[in-house]
């Protein structure tokens, strides 16, 4: 093993590097930190607040949900708590803005380097073709009383390398702020993203980034950038990929999360007045037992609920994929054409959002991979009416997913979570030392939702 940065030698990780056309077989499995000591139950509850986020009403977004994350230089008590981190159950891995790290700067974190000493970089893409670019570094991460040691995280914006065009879906986009690069508070609208879901899977790339056969693919996320050369795609062992911190907790609370938010009025709630709980673990402590009233929906191999039925029509995964997603601000489901018969129309001033003339109730049936089914009831109100309240939290804001049943999806964003306790259980067996799922979800081999 060669560690190039002497000052970080004890913190660094060595990246098993494969670039270009060199073939290397499977890079082996993942492993968690080796703690198996039995310790008193950790404080497993982090506070959630709902609102516009750090940009406020003028530049922020509605239905943002935020918590605080403590980032520590690995193996030290040198820690910094970063607030306004977006809680996202639709992605995996912790990503923090470089600008949000001040007393524990990125330079104090551990590095992940290849045999040439070049640091691992990641380009993560978002659905609107914007992206975030920055190095993968190693930190001890604390959430409430939980700790994930030596966790690979992305520090967004901390590098001087140009983003490789290979990873971008479109050329640098002059129509988007900062060309689509979300590497500041102004463009990201948060100090970071805490990815706690990932469609059942705790890693952001998994086997797609361990084999050299994918290195030439457009949209590939991991790179190294040798001095004086263009960045090149690189394979990354799973233990160095962006990882859901919960999966790496040293405590038993490492098999999923429970998100609880209060009910709110139909016209919404003011910025910062809605708070909730992010509880780590499912069935591991007295405060996170799987409620007997909750229906468990096992996910399919794509990490989706296999089917939704609305108005007699079945929408199936993966064509019509789905997610329970605190990282989306609205209920994105079906489309205005498909829903025209019940009175859904798009807002004239906000294409893609729904502006019916009156509030419309919906009942959708969800069918799990474990043969369970249940109904999801919600309403959609006119988005303009909602925005005119100047409130920041809404349970009835909706919009288009696609344009027709051929490409529609079901992104149950934050409105879905108000007035519910939603369990998000991870796929078992990816990390050693992971607590078992509670008996009610034991058959969910791809992870599950319960509510």
């Amino acid at each position: 093993m060669t560690l190039r940065n002497a000052s970080k030698a004890t913190l660094g990780r060595f990246l098993a590097l494969v670039t270009g056309l060199i073939f290397l077989g499977s890079c082996g499995g993942s492993s968690s930190s080796s703690s198996s000591t039995s310790t008193p139950a950790a404080n497993n509850t982090a506070a959630l607040t709902v609102g516009f986020g750090p940009l406020g009403a003028a530049g922020g977004y509605v239905n943002g949900i935020f918590t605080s994350v403590t980032v520590c230089a690995p193996g030290t008590s040198n820690c910094e708590t970063v607030d306004n981190v977006l809680v996202d159950t639709g992605s995996a891995g912790l990503r923090i803005l470089n600008s949000a790290l001040t007393t524990v700067p990125a330079s104090s974190l551990g590095t992940i380097t290849d045999s040439n000493g070049d640091q691992l970089q990641e380009c993560v893409q978002y659905g609107d073709t914007s992206y975030s670019w920055g190095p993968m570094l190693v930190a001890d991460v604390e959430l409430a009383g939980e700790k994930a040691s030596s966790l690979p995280i992305q520090v967004i914006g901390d590098n001087s390398f140009a983003v490789p065009s290979q990873c971008l879906a479109t050329p640098v986009n002059p129509s988007l702020p900062n060309g689509g690069n979300e590497d500041t508070v102004a463009t990201l609208g948060a100090n970071g993203i805490l990815g706690l879901g990932g469609f059942g899977y705790p890693l952001d790339c998994g086997s797609y980034c361990t084999s050299s056969s994918d290195l030439t693919q457009s949209g590939y996320p991991y790179y190294v950038c040798p001095t004086g050369q263009a960045c090149s795609a690189t394979t990354v062992p799973t233990q160095d990929q962006a990882t859901n911190p919960v999966a790496a907790f040293s405590s038993a609370d490492n098999n999923g999360v429970l998100v609880t938010l209060p009910s709110i009025p139909a016209l919404g709630a003011a910025n910062g007045t809605v708070s909730g709980s992010l509880i780590f673990g499912i069935g591991t402590q007295t405060d996170n037992a799987l409620a007997t009233t909750a229906t468990v929906y096992a996910l399919d191999e794509y990490g989706d609920i296999p089917a939704f039925t609305y108005n007699g029509v079945s929408y199936t995964s993966p064509t019509n994929w789905s997610v329970l997603d605190t990282g989306s601000n609205s209920l994105e489901f079906l489309d205005a054409n498909t829903l025209a018969s019940v009175g859904i129309i798009e807002c004239a001033d906000a294409p893609g959002l729904y502006c019916p003339t009156s509030t419309i109730p919906f009942t959708v049936t969800a069918s799990g991979a474990n043969s369970t089914s249940g109904t999801i009831m919600f309403s959609i109100m006119n988005a303009d009416t909602l925005f005119n309240t100047n409130n920041a939290a809404f349970n009835d804001l909706g919009g288009d997913s696609g344009t027709s049943p051929a490409n529609d999806f079901f992104d149950f964003g934050l409105p879905f979570f108000f007035g519910r306790s939603v369990y998000i259980g991870m796929m078992p067996g990816v990390f050693t030392g992971e607590s078992s799922a509670p008996s009610g979800a034991a058959s969910a081999t791809n992870g599950y939702y319960a509510f």
């Binding site: 977004y61 659905g127 879906a169 479109t170 949209g219 999806f409 992104d411």
Partner: protein, 140 residues
């Protein structure tokens, strides 16, 4: 091997069918052709499971494309000059963000991209190029 920094101007949406073979080389994919009465479909499948379908009108023009795979595709490659329509039509990010997906509907360009790391899918078509007796729904 992918050339960084430049993308040749041979992308397909709105172009002639001959551009498909260039895509096939680029994607290093297998090409399967389905012929229907009013259009045909090239389905390109790569080794890692990415599927690209290109819909061809009787005039030989690509009127629609779809994609599904573990990584988000290069939209400039698939959309050609229509990538400009995508970029200029991106909705202003007011009130909501679009981490998971994006829909663009204009008179001459319809686009949907959605998904998450390890799974992306989408479609795009040019309404004016769709054969008169064919529904846009076939682009799926």
């Amino acid at each position: 091997m992918l050339t960084l920094g430049t993308v040749p101007a041979w992308a397909v949406l709105g172009q002639y069918e001959s551009s498909v073979s260039v895509d096939q080389q680029y994607l290093r994919s297998e090409d399967r052709v389905q012929a229907f009465q009013a259009y045909k479909v090239h389905q390109l499948t790569t080794a890692n499971g990415t599927i690209v379908r290109e819909y061809i009108s009787p005039q030989g023009l690509v009127f629609g494309v779809t994609w599904q795979g573990p990584f988000m595709p290069n939209m400039q490659q698939l959309l050609g000059s229509y990538v400009t329509n995508l970029q200029t039509a991106l909705p202003a990010q007011t009130h909501v963000r679009h981490l998971r997906g994006l829909t663009v509907k204009t008179n001459d360009f319809v686009f949907v991209n959605s998904g998450h790391m390890r799974f992306w899918k989408g479609s795009a078509y040019v309404p004016s190029l769709i054969p008169s007796n064919v529904s846009a729904e076939v682009v799926r």
